[in-house]
C-alpha cells in the first residue's frame, strides 16, 4: 500500500473484562471504500468511535497522513460522520443542518450558500432545503445526513450503519448511490455494518472483526471465496463444514476422507497426512442431481423456495445435513421433501480452513 491516509496501530480498548479492541492494526488507503464488518460486540463501532475521537483508546496510536492525532479532539480531526440514526439537528432546517459544519468553520456566507447548494444537489435533495428534518422520510434524512457530512469536504467520511434503519428495497438503492458517490468524489470511506450483503456490494476492502480483533481482511471476492477460518466462512455468506482426514497430498491435490467418503480437493495449502482439517463448502457450489448422478447419495429433508434460488437441506447418512442452493430456472429435478437424490461438487469448491 502506498503511504496510508489513516493508520491505527496497537489499538486497545477494554470495558471491564471485555476487549472491545484487542491490539488492532489497520492502514487505510487514500480513496478506498473500507468496510468494518462484524456481529454486534465485535468492536467495529468502538473502532469507528476511536477513529472519530469520541472514545479514548487505552493504548495505541492513530495517525492521519503520518501526523499523530491520537489525542486530537473530534472537532479538529476533519472527518465527516454519518450516524446510524442520522442525528440531524431537529431544531434546524435542512439548509441549516448542511450549513452547520461550514458555519462553525466561519466560512464566508457566499461560500456557505454555494457549498450547501452543491451538497444538496449531490444527494438530489435541493428541493427540500427549507424543510425541517422531522418532515422528511428516513431515506431523505439519510441523504441530508450524507450531504451534511460531505459539505465541508472532509478528508475521510465515517459511516456508522447508515442504512440499517431503512427498508430492504431502499437500502439496496442507496447502496448503489453510495458506491457511485464514492467513485465520483474519491473521498476515503470507512463504513461500519453488520450486514454482509452491504459489505460485499460496496467495499473495496472488508475488515472482518470478532471480539475486538481482526479475523481476516481483503477484497470481497477473496474473503468470500477464500475464508481463512470457520467464523469468516460462516459470517460472510453461508457454508457447509466438513471435517476430513488427510490421506495425502500430490502437489495441489489433497486426498482426504470424511467418514467413509473419499474425495480429492484442489488447494493452495500444504497439509500433513493424518491431520484432521475443516473444509468449507458454499451451498451454491454443491450440485443436486438424480440418484447416482453425483457421487454422494442423499435424501431431501426440507425445501425453501426463494424465487431466483431454491435452498434445499439434504441429509447424507454419515455426513449429516448439508445446505444446497440451486438456481430455480435451471433444474433437472424438482426437490421435494423425502426425495432420494445425489449431491456432488467440483474438486476446487471446498476451501481448506487454516484454523478453527
Amino acid at each position: 500500500m502506498a503511504s496510508p491516509i489513516l493508520s491505527i496501530s496497537d489499538a486497545v480498548k477494554t470495558y471491564g473484562d471485555t476487549h472491545a479492541l484487542n491490539q488492532v492494526n489497520l492502514d487505510v488507503a487514500e480513496g478506498e471504500f473500507l468496510t468494518l464488518l462484524g456481529p454486534s460486540g465485535s468492536g467495529k463501532t468502538t473502532l469507528l468511535s476511536a477513529i472519530a475521537g469520541f472514545i479514548k483508546m487505552d493504548s495505541g496510536k492513530l495517525t492521519l497522513r503520518a501526523e499523530d492525532i491520537t489525542n486530537r479532539p473530534p472537532e479538529h480531526r476533519d472527518f465527516g460522520m454519518v450516524f446510524q440514526g442520522y442525528a440531524l439537528f431537529p431544531t434546524m432546517t435542512v439548509r441549516e443542518n448542511v450549513a452547520f459544519p461550514l458555519k462553525v468553520r466561519k466560512k464566508p456566507s457566499s461560500e456557505i450558500t454555494k457549498r450547501v447548494n452543491e451538497a444538496l444537489e449531490m444527494v438530489q435533495m435541493g428541493a427540500f432545503a427549507d424543510r425541517m428534518p422531522s418532515q422528511l422520510s428516513g431515506g431523505q434524512q439519510q441523504r441530508i445526513a450524507l450531504a451534511r457530512a460531505m459539505s465541508f469536504s472532509p478528508q475521510v467520511l465515517l459511516l456508522d450503519e447508515p442504512l440499517s434503519a431503512l427498508d430492504k428495497k431502499l437500502r439496496a438503492d442507496l447502496q448503489w448511490e453510495l458506491k457511485a458517490l464514492h467513485n465520483q468524489l474519491g473521498v476515503t470511506f470507512i463504513y461500519v455494518t453488520h450486514d454482509q450483503d452491504e459489505a460485499l456490494s460496496m467495499s473495496d476492502r472488508i475488515i472482518i472483526l470478532k471480539d475486538g480483533g481482526i479475523q481476516q481482511q481483503g477484497d470481497p471476492n477473496t474473503l468470500y471465496n477464500r475464508p481463512r477460518n470457520k467464523f469468516v466462512a460462516d459470517f460472510l455468506g453461508k457454508s457447509n463444514f466438513i471435517d476430513v482426514t488427510v490421506k495425502g497430498q500430490t502437489n495441489s491435490t489433497l486426498h482426504c476422507t470424511a467418514q467413509d467418503v473419499a474425495f480429492d480437493v484442489e488447494t493452495d495449502t500444504t497439509n500433513t497426512t493424518g491431520d484432521t482439517v475443516k473444509l468449507a463448502l458454499r451451498p451454491e457450489r454443491l450440485k443436486l442431481g438424480a440418484p447416482n448422478e453425483e457421487f454422494l447419495p442423499a435424501v431431501v429433508k426440507q425445501v425453501s423456495y426463494l424465487g431466483e434460488r431454491c435452498q434445499v437441506i439434504v441429509t447424507h447418512k454419515t455426513l449429516g445435513e448439508m445446505l444446497v442452493s440451486c438456481p430455480t430456472w435451471k433444474t433437472d429435478i424438482t426437490p421435494v421433501a423425502g426425495l432420494t437424490v445425489s449431491i456432488g461438487w467440483e474438486p476446487d469448491a471446498p476451501v481448506v480452513l487454516a484454523d478453527n
Partner: protein, 280 residues
C-alpha cells in the same frame, strides 16, 4: 356479554376522577366567584376596592417577583442538575433521580420549618458563620424576601428538574457527537445543538414552577414571617382575620385570572400541549 360502545367505556373510566374534580373543586371555585360578586352586596364593589388598594398592588408585585426569581433560580440550578444526571452519572443515575424525588416524601411544612432552624438569628447558618469569625452580627436570612426565596427555590427545585430531566434523557448523545464531528467545539455543540433541544423541558419546568409559586402559601408564610405578604397569604388574612369573604374571594378570582393569563401568554411562545403533557 353486551359490547359497550368504546366512547361510553372511555367516559366510564374518566367519570370517577371527573366527578371528584367537579364536586370538590369546580363547584367550590364557582362558589368563590359567586361570593366575590355577591358579598357583602351584589356588584363589583370588591373588585373596585381591590383595584384601589395599595396593599393589594404591593402584594401582587411581591407575588410575581418572588415567583419569577424562584423560577429563574430553579431553572439555573435545575438545569445543571438535570444535565449532570442525564449526561455524566450513568452508574449513579437511579440514586441521583431518587435524591431529586426524595423531598416529595417530606411534607412542605417540615421542610419550611427546617429552613427556619437553618436560617434563624441563632440558626445553624448564622452560628457557623459567627463561629468561623466571618460575621460579627447575625445576618437577616429570614422574615424577609431572601429567606422566602431560598426556601421557595428549594421546595420548587424538583418541579423544575423533573421535566428537564425527562426531556434531556430523550436527547440522543449522537447529536452532540455529530456536532463535534462536524467541527463544533464542546461549547458550540452545547449552545447550538443541545440547548435548543432542551427548550421544551425548560419551558415546561418554568411554567410548572411559576404557576405553583404564584399560589404558594406555606413556605412564604413561614419564612416571610408576615413581612413578605404574597397574595395567597393576603387572602388568608382577609378571610381569617377580617372575615372579609368578599374581598378574599375577589383576590382569589384575580389570582386565578392572572395565572390563566400567564398560561395564555406562554401558549403564544411554547407549545403547551407538548410542554405539559408529552414532555418531549
Amino acid at each position: 356479554m353486551p359490547r359497550i360502545n368504546e366512547k361510553v367505556s372511555y367516559w366510564m373510566l374518566v367519570a370517577p376522577a371527573l366527578a371528584i374534580m367537579v364536586i370538590f373543586y369546580i363547584v367550590p371555585v364557582l362558589g368563590i366567584w359567586k361570593i366575590a360578586f355577591t358579598e357583602p352586596e351584589t356588584g363589583v364593589a370588591n373588585f373596585v376596592a381591590m383595584a384601589g388598594s395599595n396593599a393589594v398592588k404591593t402584594s401582587f408585585i411581591i407575588t410575581f417577583r418572588v415567583a419569577a426569581i424562584t423560577t429563574i433560580g430553579c431553572l439555573i440550578l435545575g438545569y445543571i442538575v438535570a444535565y449532570a444526571i442525564s449526561n455524566f452519572a450513568s452508574k449513579f443515575t437511579p440514586l441521583m433521580v431518587a435524591l431529586v424525588i426524595l423531598p416529595f416524601w417530606v411534607s412542605v411544612l417540615i421542610r419550611s420549618f427546617s429552613w427556619i432552624v437553618l436560617l434563624g438569628r441563632s440558626g445553624i447558618v448564622n452560628d457557623t458563620l459567627k463561629g468561623a469569625g466571618l460575621i460579627d452580627a447575625p445576618l437577616r436570612l429570614m422574615h424577609n424576601e431572601t429567606g422566602v426565596l431560598i426556601a421557595m427555590i428549594h421546595v420548587m427545585l424538583p418541579f423544575a428538574i423533573l421535566p428537564m430531566l425527562t426531556n434531556m434523557r430523550g436527547i440522543s448523545g449522537a447529536y452532540v457527537q455529530a456536532a463535534r464531528s462536524l467541527g463544533a467545539s464542546e461549547w458550540t455543540a452545547f449552545r447550538q445543538v443541545y440547548f435548543p433541544q432542551t427548550m421544551p423541558g425548560v419551558m415546561s419546568g418554568a411554567l410548572l414552577v411559576f404557576v405553583l409559586s404564584l399560589g404558594f402559601f406555606v413556605t412564604p408564610a413561614l419564612l416571610g414571617g408576615g413581612r413578605v405578604l404574597m397574595i395567597s397569604e393576603y387572602i388568608t388574612y382577609q378571610i381569617q382575620e377580617f372575615l372579609n369573604w368578599g374581598l378574599g374571594s375577589a383576590l382569589s378570582v384575580a389570582l386565578l385570572i392572572a395565572t390563566a393569563l400567564v398560561l395564555l401568554i406562554a401558549a403564544r411562545f411554547v407549545n403547551l400541549r407538548s410542554a405539559l403533557l408529552e414532555r418531549k
